[in-house]
């Protein structure tokens, strides 16, 4: 009894500050679960209601089908507005069938909120930056996957009707769930000359017979369906017929060069609302888009003729390589080289158009099945599906009477069988991708004042050297932004008063007294325009020659990097660059 009392007292005495990991969330969400549009909407709103000091939600607009494109903003208003801070934009599921992308975004919001005030590292990150999340960039496609008979690849695009087969009719012949099992699978027919046979070892499957050997007796007819429009073709014009990830403006190409591009960039509301949001939020310095599948961390260029500035390539690669270390069996890749050419993709737009360091992650790789870095063999895959997934990714074959073909067998693997993370492995996948994204977020430009040196070079004449440092990988202006004058360049101003005046300004290469000013000829030396920004893990020494006395105020404004301000007295002084090691043993000044 006494022991019980002691335990109870201890339990009640425990305060939040002594809470133990894993930290509980105010909203109980499971990550071995698939959330359809309605459930995801509820989950997002529940999180916002539970963490009003961090989250807000609004709709960016409606999809073609009238569903909301939800935008969740994560920001601590006590440390500034979301626009004042450097921000990261994270979205997922622009391909409707790539559903685990949305759960990954949901996980990110959930994990960040429950870690605030608990995990110091993430608390700092949240205080310093702001985040914009779009969990379901293609809610229509997602809903089709959930609630209509679907496959791992369907519905990739949206539901706006398109005449895919150019016969004057729209969406008149899509797949049909003939056997009523809720899935679109394959149709097989007994055919004496057929090149498939029922697998000898595993009669649940058809396999192709070897070249040159006798026919197997079966032919695959194609995807489950009938010739709805009686034109002699089956399933040639189903729902939609375009690819929202080819609808972005940078290197947008028409349909005959890039299938799925539609008539013009941002012809789709789903892409347009995000594009306009990004244009309106120049504080966004990092972008992550989640897709499936393949275990890839993709950076551009997406076309062989696109050349990215090498410094930006290095920035992308440095971050992606870290991701490769955090995500087992994922490979950092360059899209056009290692995957395929994409014209008009989202990360191409956010980088080429807006100068934002961007990645697309293809979630889930079959290499995770055996977790040994190898793609599973046929036997390994069978083991996984039969004994770890308990055969739940197959539907048994049924014989039905097809109006055209007669007796056919319908069945096989379902929409859960590929591209999708098995739910019992989902949380880890979410976490690792989220962690990589937080690493990327943390490496967004972070500007701070470095060294300060004020020297008298004459009567009431001062040489003020002031350093602006960026201790992160991403520069405050990417080379792409600098080259194409995207957005506003960084501006350093020296505010003088009646007592003082700037005679000249520019940069210096070092703090040595003998270093000459690289003067920027200007009518307004108080104001320096820095098109290249401050480089990654770099700093720039600015120098001002100032007449007079008293005090001046320096302000550095970076679109992506925030605002700095510092008052400097015109008197001999030197302050070294502060070293910002948090949690170091003996913090230095």
């Amino acid at each position: 009894m006494k022991q019980l009392l002691t335990t109870l007292v201890l339990l009640f005495a425990t305060s939040n500050a002594l809470a133990q990991a894993p930290y509980p969330s105010k909203v109980d969400l499971r990550f071995d679960h698939w959330y359809d549009y309605s459930e995801m909407t509820t989950a997002l709103h529940e999180l916002v209601a539970a963490y009003p000091n961090l989250l807000s939600i609004k709709s960016l607009g409606n999809s073609v089908g009238g569903l909301e494109i939800w935008l969740v903003t994560l920001n601590n208003p006590k440390t500034g507005t979301d626009r004042e801070k450097t921000a990261m934009f994270i979205d997922g599921n622009i391909h409707g069938n790539e559903i685990q992308a949305a759960e990954t975004v949901l996980y990110s919001i959930w994990y960040l909120c429950k870690s605030y005030g608990q995990i110091e590292r993430l608390t700092e990150l949240i205080d310093e930056r702001s985040f914009y999340f779009v969990a379901m960039a293609n809610p229509d496609g997602r809903e089709v996957w959930f609630h209509q008979p679907a496959t791992p690849h369907f519905l990739r695009g949206g539901i706006r009707p398109v005449d895919n087969d150019n016969d004057g009719l729209l969406d008149e012949d899509g797949p049909d769930d003939l056997d009523g099992d809720g899935h679109i699978t394959s149709m097989w027919i007994k055919d004496e000359l057929g090149r498939y046979e029922i697998d000898e070892q595993d009669p649940r499957f058809f396999t192709r017979v070897e070249q040159g050997s006798a026919p197997g007796g079966w032919t695959r007819l194609g995807e489950e369906g009938i010739d709805n429009d009686d034109d002699g073709r089956i399933n040639e014009d189903g729902i939609g017929g375009y690819d929202p990830n080819r609808n972005w403006p940078a290197d947008w190409q028409p349909e005959w060069i890039q299938r799925g591009a539609t008539d013009y960039p941002f012809s789709l509301p789903e892409t347009r609302v995000i594009g306009e949001f990004l244009l309106d939020h120049p504080n966004v310095a990092a972008l992550q888009s989640y897709h499936n599948a393949g275990g890839m961390i993709l950076q551009g260029p997406s076309a062989s003729y696109m050349k990215y500035p090498s410094s930006d390539n290095r920035t992308h690669t440095e971050i992606a390589n870290k991701g490769g270390e955090m995500l087992p069996f994922y490979e950092p890749m360059i899209a056009y080289k290692d995957l395929y050419t994409v014209h008009g993709g989202e990360d191409g737009f956010s980088y080429e158009g807006l100068g934002i360091i961007s990645f697309t992650n293809e979630l889930w790789t079959d290499k995770r099945m055996r977790a040994n870095g190898e793609d599973p063999t046929k036997e390994e895959r069978k083991l996984f599906r039969d004994h770890l997934q308990f055969e739940d990714v197959y539907v048994p074959y049924k014989e039905i009477d097809h109006p055209v073909y007669g007796k056919v067998m319908i069945g096989g693997t379902t929409k859960y069988s590929s591209r999708l993370t098995p739910p019992w492995m989902l949380e880890e996948g979410c976490h690792r991708n989220f962690a990589f994204t937080m690493f990327h977020a943390d490496e967004m430009p972070h500007l701070s004042w470095g060294a300060l040196d004020v020297t008298s070079i004459g009567k009431n004449l001062w040489k003020v050297t002031i350093e602006v440092a960026n201790d992160k990988i991403i520069p405050s202006r990417t080379s792409m932004a600098a080259r194409h004058h995207i957005g506003t360049p960084d501006i350093l101003t020296c505010k003088t008063n009646s007592q003082n005046d700037v005679a000249a300004s520019g940069t210096v290469r070092s703090l040595l007294k003998t270093t000459k000013l690289q003067r920027i000829a200007s009518e307004n030396p108080n104001r320096i325009v820095i098109n290249n920004g401050i480089g990654g893990n770099d700093s720039t020494l600015f120098q001002f020659i100032i007449d007079g006395k008293g005090e001046v105020t320096f302000t550095y404004n970076a679109e992506k990097g925030g605002s700095l301000s510092r008052k400097v007295s015109l008197k001999e002084q030197f302050a070294p660059k502060p070293i910002l090691y948090k949690r170091a043993i003996s913090p230095q000044q």
Partner: protein, 621 residues
């Protein structure tokens, strides 16, 4: 006379034509009022608003059609668009006046245009920019009011040109500044400027700025004027991402979006004519290879002949020959041809011919001269870019390891400026012959035909910031807006040209079917789809890009009853001149039963023929 009766019902517009009074250019508001009135008073004219400009001015579309055999909504259409270029007032007025001409012409002549087909006219897409012509002492404006930080200094539109000497024009300033100097007075034609040539003993004497003050006191003059996006660079084909005046992305501007949306909503548009700065008619428009994604930059090789023929016919109706053909990247006409997929043409309707003393040029030089166009930064030859890049590296402007093989032409211009090299565009292959094709010819024209009113003579001026300068130069709009008496002739010519185009449009029909009995219930059906018009139903470009919808040929019977042949087939392009495309099916059907063949085209309409299963005896026409 029939035309007299119609004359009575067409009021103001036609009277102006008949009377030949000195007319004024109409403001956008006046144009809209006139068109609204026309729509109210003339039966054949319907007006609609397809969108609004950035400042909220309605963009009007006029539909002109007469009752005929085919319902108006089922007809294919010709579209005329003008005023995408805000400084192209002539196009807008001609577009409006040609409507009146077309309506007074003999209805027999205009039967195809107005009764078989219909005409859409969008006379002024870019009213916001057109308005500047009517603003006193405005520079000639092409870009719209979208704020753009042209000089990348963090401020927007902070320094525009002004008329500081009060002569009513914004022209140029010659500023003696040996450090910044780039030009000398042209020794042969002192009104013009030329590049210095050290070996000729000349060195730069002055720098040229547009007239005005340094409003933001940054030492630069008029470096960030009002003026953001050039609507005619905002379209998808050849779009220059981040290009000067291209806009933040394709169709970013209300005007271009409205125009594109209208065209998309009207798949029945079969031919597009644009009045504006681009030209594809005064001389044959060339094929110039493919862009990096594989699309033809200008024409598909399969359309070169078509464009040649239309150009020939155009120059028969007008005397416009051999005008400069600026690069069409990002333009509406380029998109209409290359992506919407119809024959699309453009003409400025006025201009000085390019070097008529160069008419003897070989094909090679002609090609060169049309490639080296006096607009757009992207026209510098690759060899030049390579040489300049090397020089820039030598000077330390570019770091070797930062160098990309795709240095932009804008960067080249910047390095040239830094190295003191002037980038000048030449119109002819034979060097800087300004005299015969460029400014020299314009000066002659101004002096001889326009009382010298095109050029303001250089005169000294005491600039409050720069001291002694000279102000002078071309009068804004002189080279783009002619005297109004040009309108009448052009409108009449264009009306005739469009009538001729309408007569050439595809005329597609199903021929008489041929039925052969093969067995008791087995039949062979042969039928041809015939194009009696002149134009093919699809350009070679449309065939490639698969965007202009095809003709769909559908045999209306159960698929299971078709023994041979596809039930649904498509014709992407069918040449004119009576070309037949044959379709054959073998079907199972009862004797004397009926089948039908349907011909459907989103662009050209539908037709259906009933076929009786009964042996015919030859006889297709």
């Amino acid at each position: 006379m029939i035309s007299l009766c119609i004359l009575a019902s067409i009021s103001i517009g036609l009277q102006e034509i008949e009377q030949e009074t000195e007319r004024a250019w109409r403001t956008p508001e006046e144009i809209r009022a006139h068109l609204t009135n026309q729509a109210e008073t003339v039966d054949e004219i319907t007006i609609s608003t397809i969108g609004h400009t950035q400042l909220g001015q309605p963009i009007q579309c006029i539909e002109i059609a007469r009752e005929g055999a085919v319902a108006i909504e089922d007809r294919s259409a010709i579209l005329v668009v003008a005023g995408i270029d805000g400084n192209h007032l002539l196009g807008s007025e001609v577009a409006i006046d040609l409507i009146a001409h077309v309506l007074v012409m003999d209805p027999e002549e205009t039967r195809n245009l107005l009764e078989t087909h219909k005409l859409f006219v969008i006379p002024q897409v870019n009213a916001d920019v057109a308005q500047y012509y009517f603003t006193p002492a405005s520079p000639e404006m092409i870009k719209n009011n979208r704020p753009v930080d042209d000089d990348n200094d963090g401020y927007t539109d902070e320094d525009s040109p002004e008329d500081i000497n009060g002569d009513g024009f914004v022209t140029m300033m010659r500023v003696p500044d040996l450090e910044k100097a780039t030009h000398i007075v042209d020794p042969e034609t002192p009104r013009l400027n030329a590049s210095p040539d050290a070996l000729q003993g000349t060195s730069a004497e002055f720098v040229l700025y547009s007239e005005g003050l340094d409003n933001d006191n940054d030492g630069k003059f008029n470096e960030d004027a009002i003026g953001g996006v050039d609507i005619n660079k905002n379209f998808m084909h050849g779009y220059q991402y981040h290009g000067d005046g291209a806009g933040v992305w394709q169709l970013s501007e209300a005007e271009s979006k409205a125009l594109a949306d209208f065209v998309f909503a009207h798949q029945e548009i079969a031919f597009i004519l644009v009045y504006g700065r681009h030209d594809t008619l005064s001389k044959p428009f060339k094929e110039t290879g493919k862009d990096q994604a594989g699309a033809p930059k200008t024409l598909h090789t399969g359309d070169v002949e078509l464009y040649e023929k239309i150009s020939e016919s155009f120059t028969e109706f007008t005397d416009l020959k051999n005008i400069n053909q600026p690069n069409w990247n990002g333009s509406f006409v380029a998109w209409a041809y290359a992506q919407f997929g119809v024959p699309a043409f453009s003409t400025p309707l006025w201009g000085l011919p390019e070097g008529d003393d160069n008419s003897e040029n070989s094909d090679n030089e002609e090609t060169k001269s049309s490639e080296l166009t006096p607009s757009g930064v992207g026209d510098i030859a690759q060899e030049t870019i390579d040489e300049l890049t090397e020089a820039a590296i030598a000077k330390g402007y570019i770091q070797e390891d930062e160098m990309e093989s795709e240095i932009t032409a804008e960067e080249i211009e910047m390095y040239c400026k830094m190295m003191g090299i002037e980038v000048k565009r030449i119109n002819t292959s034979s060097g800087n012959k300004e005299k015969s094709t460029g400014d020299g010819a314009w000066l002659e024209y101004s002096d001889n035909s326009r009382n010298g009113e095109g050029f303001v003579e250089w005169a000294p001026f005491d600039h409050p910031q720069l001291g002694k300068v000279e102000i002078g130069g071309w009068v804004p709009y002189f080279k783009t807006v002619p005297p109004t008496n040009v309108i009448a002739t052009r409108a009449e010519e264009q009306a005739k040209f469009l009538v001729d185009i309408a007569n050439k449009l595809p005329s597609v029909r199903l021929g008489t079917p041929n039925v052969t009995q093969l067995g008791k219930t087995t039949w062979e059906i042969k039928i041809a789809v015939i194009n009696d018009g002149w134009f093919p139903t699809g350009t070679a470009m449309a065939e490639s890009n698969r965007r202009a919808r095809p003709f769909v040929v559908r045999l209306d019977t159960e698929n299971s009853k078709i023994i041979t042949g596809q039930k649904v087939q498509r014709i992407w392009a069918l040449s004119g001149g009576g070309t037949h495309k044959w379709f054959t099916w073998t079907v199972q059907a009862r004797s004397n039963s009926d089948l039908s063949v349907q011909l459907y085209s989103e662009k050209f309409g539908s037709e259906s023929i009933k076929i009786k299963m009964k042996q015919t005896n030859g006889g297709e026409q």
